[in-house]
Symmetry: C2
DNA sequence: CCAGCCGGCAACTGATGGGTTGCAACACTA
DNA sequence: TAGTGTTGCAACCCATCAGTTGCCGGCTGG
């Protein structure tokens, strides 16, 4: 249930905008589910920084935290929000240079200077 | 020529992560090419703030600044980077829950607790 | 020629975020 | 029981960024 696909897309964009976070996701993708300490061994940042990123990613729904055996918490990738973001991107791009582009250029050509509101 | 699609995608993500920037793009999409002052009339922020956002968007290739007749600079949408970002997203998501997911779960299942090195 | 509008720097402030260190709590094991 | 390893929380720098105000230069029009 996503009443606001834009919100989901925004979180995905925010998440993917950071190189560390992308590296984190890449590590999870290539190495499978892992814990924060585990990931800290592969990335040049501390475990706490990773935990923060994981929290943000979990908030965005890109990863899920599943409690493991001992006390280790394992993080697994979730691709569902990615699809939402993809659709958002596609819809956006479609609007831009779709029929609107021609219309815009037409308006641009015919609109008198004073016609622009305000 | 994009030797690094990830860099383009990152800029797109950064650009789309900001609500003001999305509103800016939406205004451009619905109203056609416009100038910074024009856009300042439709958004609740000052012209200078808009100019900064436009500069960032231009840097990302999402808009192009074309000098108009008087001294007005018109900004037009460009959807090319969006496609790159889309492909980036698609490739990422494909890796996640592709064959790798099964492999990861397999490894996860068979690895004995003590087998974890260190 | 002067007034007005428009656009582009420049400087400043406030907030946000990435990253670090430190510490406390808990589980397992020798 | 002592020790080790792992997690979570909190406090704290530092950089960046969004947004503002102010000023100056250049067209345009009367």
């Amino acid at each position: 249930m996503r009443p606001d696909a834009e919100a989901v897309a925004e979180q995905v964009f925010v998440a993917l905008a950071d190189p560390s976070r992308r590296a984190l996701l890449a590590a999870l993708a290539s190495g499978g589910p892992a814990t924060a300490t585990d990931l800290a061994g592969r990335l040049p940042i501390t475990r706490q920084a990773i935990a923060k990123h994981l929290a943000l990613l979990a908030e965005a729904g890109l990863v899920t935290a599943e409690p493991g055996e001992r006390r280790r918490v394992r993080y697994r990738l979730r691709s569902d929000p990615m699809r939402v973001a993809q659709q958002f991107l596609a819809a956006l791009a479609r609007d831009w240079d779709g029929p609107l582009a021609a219309l815009s250029q037409h308006l641009d050509d015919t609109a008198p200077p004073g016609a622009a509101r305000r």
